[in-house]
Each structure stands twice: as C-alpha cells, then as structure tokens.
C-alpha cells in the first residue's frame, strides 16, 4: 500500500541526519519553551515594588535550601484573583466572542474570494494573490490609523454615506464594536484567503468533472465535493485568524470603545499601567490554555479519524 510508506521512520540514520532533526527542537526549546517556563514562573510569583517587580527570585547560589524556600514562595493566588474578579472573565469572553464573530465573517468573505482566485485563469491568479498580499507592504499600524481617518465623524465613510443620501447625518463608527470588526476583518483577510486559496487551487479539476458526470449539478458539486475537500484550508485559515484575534490588542485599542475591552488590553493594563507582572503573566497563561486545549483536542480527533480509516 502506498500510504504506509510515508509515516515509516527511516532506519539507520546517520549522525548528521540526527543533528539536523534536532535543530528545530533546539530552536523551540530556546525561543518557546524557555520563555514560556519563565512566564509560568512569574505568574506564580507575587508583585513587589522592586526591580524586577516580582518575588521570589531564583538564586542558584542559595543551594538546595534556597531552592526549597523559592518553591514554597510560589503560589496560585494570581489565578485565584483572575477567577474571583469578573473583569477578567468578561474580557476573556469578549475576546472569544469578537474572535468567533470576526473569524466567521472572514470565512464568509474569504472563501468566495479564494474560490474566485483559484478559478481565475492561471496568469491572473498570481496577480490576484499579489493584490491580497499587497497591503502587507505598508506598516500595520499605519493601516489601522488610516481606518481611524476613514471611520471618524467627518471621515471618508460618513462623507460617502451622506453624499449617497443613505443617511441624512453622519453616523458614529469609531469607538464601536463595528469599527473593531471592520479593522480585524480587514487586517486578517489575507490570513484567511491564502490557506483557502492554496487548498482550492490544488484540487484536481477532474473531481468536479467526475461529480458532474455522476449526476451532480454544479451547486451540489460545491456542497458535496469542493467544500468537504477544502476543510484543511478552512481549518488552517480559521486557526490562523482566530488565535491571534483573541489576543488582538492594537485594533480594539485604537478603533474600539470602552465597551470593547478584550483580553489583550487587560494584559497591557496589568503589565504597563499596574506594573503587575505576575497577574499579567497569569492572564497570558490562561489565554494560552484557552487556545491550546481546543486545538489539541481537534488534532487528536483528526489523528483518530485518520487511524480509523486505516
């Protein structure tokens, strides 16, 4: 069977090959696992008025007794604070809500766009993909500021609306949830379109012909063939958008109002305004858990499904 050879480990690898495999692990250990453990440690510490602003500090010179004292000083009370204060829970829920709604909007807008690009003539496809990526060549911050300009009271959007007599007076856009959604959907659009496009573009056109040949009208072919086969692209696009949107700080801070307090802003306030590094770290760790757990469950299920098929 052809599929079985893919996953089989290569036997008798040379020393060089082993070292090469090690490189990504070393990279992850140095730049992900290390910092992550430091943040976990800070989240278990207490706020102080010292430099750095938390205690206890790890001191290797203090020996075994010192280490035991260090461990004893760590506590979960920052997490208890998070659980006790509804402010945090609300911020988490708001973040998840904003991320869910805007990811859904991105999918609804991104799928037809990606589909259109994938069905365009070969030569045009490269141009269209380029057009999707092009805004990235300008600074993200500048583009968000540009939206402030467009959305403000006498901004471009209101000018157009009044000129077209869609409303007789300018509407309030800035500092609303709508502005946050506009900003997020605009900013994350390429992250949704590109994975969808790459899945749709790779799809064998003979599959659509086969569906038609077997009696499927075009609209039904889309539902029973195209959509199920683009699931990897949908999953990639959704994860690529949903995860960073949950932690988004700049867009809600600049375009949103006081009603849209997302967890990113809470984190910023704890860290910079309150100088409460331990609480800020705890907020970050909970956010990570919130995102990682569902993804791990999903991947686990995917794997099981794959194994069931064997």
């Amino acid at each position: 069977m052809m599929g079985e050879t893919a996953g089989r480990p290569v036997e008798g690898r040379s020393f060089g090959a082993r070292v090469i495999v090690l490189v990504p692990y070393l990279w992850l250990a140095a730049f992900f696992l290390g910092p992550f453990l430091i943040v976990v440690k800070i989240s278990l510490s207490q706020i102080t008025m010292t430099q750095p602003p938390y205690a206890p500090l790890f001191d290797a010179a203090a020996g075994w007794e010192g280490f035991k004292a260090f461990l004893a000083a760590l506590s979960l009370n920052n997490y208890a604070t998070l659980a006790a204060d509804p402010l945090y829970l609300e911020a988490y829920l708001k973040s998840l809500e904003v991320a869910a709604i805007s990811t859904a909007m991105l999918l609804v807008l991104g799928y037809p766009t990606a589909y259109g690009i994938a069905r365009a003539p070969r030569r045009l496809q490269a141009v269209l993909v380029m057009l999707v990526i092009l805004p990235f060549w300008t600074s993200f911050l500048i583009r968000v500021y540009a939206w402030i300009n467009i959305l403000q009271h006498d901004g471009l959007l209101n000018q157009v609306i009044v000129a077209l007599h869609l409303a007789d007076h300018p509407l309030t856009w800035l500092s609303t949830d709508t502005a946050v959604f506009i900003g997020i959907v605009y900013s994350y659009f390429p992250f949704m379109v590109l994975p969808l496009y790459s899945t749709l573009e790779r799809m064998d056109a003979a599959l659509f012909e086969a569906a038609a040949d077997l009696g499927c009208p075009p609209w039904k072919t889309f539902w029973v063939v195209t959509l199920p086969l683009s699931r990897p692209g949908i999953v990639a696009g959704v994860l690529l958008c949903f995860i960073p949107i949950v932690g988004e700080f700049v867009i809600p801070d600049l375009l949103g109002g006081s009603s849209t307090v997302m967890i990113g802003q809470t984190l910023w306030t704890e860290f910079f305004a309150n100088r409460d590094w331990p609480t800020a770290s705890a907020v970050a760790i909970v956010l990570l858990a919130l995102l990682v757990v569902p993804i791990v469950i999903y991947q686990h299920q995917q794997l099981r499904e794959l194994e069931r098929g064997r």
Binding site: A206, L207, D213
Partner: protein, 388 residues
C-alpha cells in the same frame, strides 16, 4: 497477430464483410457524431468528424497524443461543447444537455476518485444523486463491489488502495448508474504492463457480461487491438480508418495507419505493370516486387508497399525453389524478444527491412548472427499496396 513460420507461411487475408457482424442495416447507431468539429481558438482539435457507434460494441479511439481522441470523448461526456455538428445518443440530440444529465458515464484517466469518501460511498455517489432509496443503493453497491472483487475494501479511502484497486473502484463507480455508454479515458495508462494485460481481459469479460457499450480512448495500439471489436484510428482530429482490428492491421488504408498499428516496412515504388493477379513494382532502389495488388491502379503511379515484419521469411541459405520475391542482404541488428526475434536486414540495394521470426523452438539448429548474409523472401499476397 500471426507470426509466420519459416517453412509454410500462413498469410492471413481478411475477407471484407464478414467482420461487420454488429451493424445490421436496420439498426440505428447508439452514438452518432455528425460532422462534429471542436476548435480551441484557432486550433482545431476535432474536424468535421462523423462516426457511428452501435449498441454492444467495444469501440476504441486510437491515435497519438493530440489527435483529438480525448476531446471526442469529452464532447460526448459534455465537458466540452462542439464548435459545429451534432452528437446523438439513442437518436436524441444531446445539444446543450449538461454533463450531469447525459446518459453516459466516464472513467477518468486519473480515476478522479473522491479522496474524502470511502470506496463504498465513491461507488454510491452517482446513485445518491438520483435519489434512489437507501436499500437499493446498498444492494447495487454490494453488487458492484463483487463485480470488481473489492468487497473487503468497502470501508477504505482511495489513498489506502493500490493503483490497480483504485482503477477498479473507478470502474465500478462509472458503471453504477448503468450508463448507455461507458467512456474510458486511457483507463490502463497508470498500470504496469502485466497488470494492464490482465485488466484488458477482465474488461473484455466484463463488457461481454454486461452488454454495455464501451468507448475507450487509448494511444496503445496493442490495447486497442486486444479489447476492441472496432477501432477508429485518428489523425489530426480526423478519422483515418474505422474497422475491426483485423481489417485495420491487415488492410490499412494509408501509410499513417499501417505505420501506427504494429511494425511495418514501407517500400516506396512505381507501378510498372498490372494485371488482376500480379502487379510489378520497381522500388526507388531498383528492386522489383511482384505483388497481388487488391486495388485498381494505373501503371506509373507512385505507390507504397507495406510489408509486416512477420510476413517476411529469412534464411541463412538461398531457398531451393526461388520464390517470386527474393532479396539478399546482411543482418545488421537482432532484437531478441523471447517469443520472437526481430532482424534488421540491410539489403544489397541499400534498404533496411525488419523481419520478425517466431521462436518456435528453444534452440535453433543454427541461429542467424549479426553480419551474416541472409535471403529474405515473401509471398505476393503478403503485402498491402497503399496509395497515400
């Protein structure tokens, strides 16, 4: 295909008429291509092609890549629209009928199995679109799985199957809806040679059992000769010749067909005298050929004589009784194929002919070797005279 033995050459002469068992005069063709043309921009793929295919035939479209054979199949399936002409199935003009409403099904060269569906659901796909009750679908799928001997693989996904298994799933899927015509686009191109030969015979058995009309597209002449009972040889979007395999092989109507089907020596010459039984041809290199013309020719005409390698006799000594066509040459190369050997003989007149000899015994008494002088001969009626 017949390979002549050294002593008694059995030459096959196809009698015309006997092979047209399928087409009774009153029968209307199942598929009719009427002056069908297809152009891509300025590029013609199919040109004013007219062809009838009858119920129950195993019909092959044969030609090199780019001859328009696949386009013709896609026109019938409805994936392409003809630029001009009509396509009828059961006497009904398919005109603008979209692919999903046509009474034909296609087996794709890439198989085009749905990777997200199991074998079972791939096969059931077409039946589901028709809104057939679940129980009936299950029964039909079980029937088809048995037909292609894949019962054990019903729950597998296509990427867990071997190439041959996938091919059988594709076949079962395309047969599920009992199409009026089954279209097969290079169905065995992805299989290795041994499996391909087995599959060819299986396909023939299946076709005989089901009685479904099969229309196969292939560039492999052996495959077409094996499976089909009628072949259309295509060239540049037109049909060069249509007929049963024997007729195509033994009585090609042009150098193109003679050359495309099997091995052939083509000798250019000028007709110098002709009667009903004998025509004398002088070749470009000055040799004389005595042949049975079979066609009406005016003396002086340029003609080509096609001579199949297996119809040549080759001997290391001059024959005791000199035949009419005897040439002397030197063996240039020998290709040993196991079942036969092919000798490339450079004649003293300069031409190079191929002669194929069946290896009827395990060890020839005295094998012919490279560089040896040989006497090459053939019968008058072993040749085909071509005028184009």
């Amino acid at each position: 295909m017949e390979a002549s033995n050294c002593f008694i050459p059995p030459t096959v002469s196809a009698s015309s008429g006997s092979t047209h068992r399928l087409a009774s005069a009153a029968q209307i063709p199942l598929v009719q291509f009427q002056a069908v043309s297809k152009r891509y921009g300025q590029l013609p793929a199919v040109e004013a092609l007219t062809l009838d295919i009858y119920q129950g035939e195993f019909f092959a479209l044969l030609g090199p890549s780019g001859c328009g054979k696949t386009t013709l199949l896609r026109l019938l399936a409805g994936f392409e629209r003809p630029t001009a002409g009509r396509i009828l199935v059961d006497g009904e003009d398919l005109g603008d009928t979209p692919p999903h409403r046509r009474p034909v099904n296609m087996m794709f060269q890439s198989y085009a199995l749905f990777p997200h569906l199991t074998v079972e659901r791939n096969i059931a796909f077409g039946l589901k679109q028709e809104g057939i009750p679940k129980n009936d679908i299950a029964r039909r799928v079980a029937e088809l799985l048995a037909l292609v001997r894949l019962e054990r693989y019903a729950g597998r996904k296509p990427d867990q199957l071997s190439g041959g298994e996938r091919q059988r799933v594709a076949l079962a899927r395309s047969l599920a809806k009992r199409p009026r015509v089954l279209l097969l686009d290079e169905p065995m191109a992805a299989l290795d040679k041994k499996l391909r030969q087995d599959t060819q015979f299986e396909l023939m058995e299946l076709q005989a059992k089901l009685g479904t009309t099969f229309l196969i597209v292939t560039h492999d002449q052996d495959e077409a000769m094996t499976v089909a009972n009628r072949i259309a040889v295509m060239e540049h979007g037109r049909i060069a010749q249509v007929g049963p395999p024997v007729e195509i092989y033994e009585r090609p109507n042009s150098r193109y067909v003679a050359d495309f089907i099997g091995e052939v020596n083509i000798i250019e010459g000028r007709l110098i005298s002709t009667t009903l039984e004998r025509a004398l041809i002088v070749t470009d290199s000055g040799g004389h050929l005595a042949i049975t013309p079979g066609v009406d020719l005016a003396p002086g005409a340029i003609t080509w004589v096609a001579l199949r390698p297996e119809k040549l006799r080759i001997a290391a000594e001059p024959p005791r009784q000199a035949p009419e066509n005897l040439f002397v040459g030197t063996v240039g190369e020998i290709g040993y194929l196991g079942n036969m050997s092919v000798y490339k003989v450079r004649l003293d007149s300069g031409e190079v002919w191929k002669a194929a000899v069946a290896n009827t015994t395990r060890h020839a008494d005295r094998p012919i070797v490279i560089g040896e002088r040989v006497w090459v001969s053939f019968d008058c009626d072993a040749t085909i005279v071509l005028t184009r």
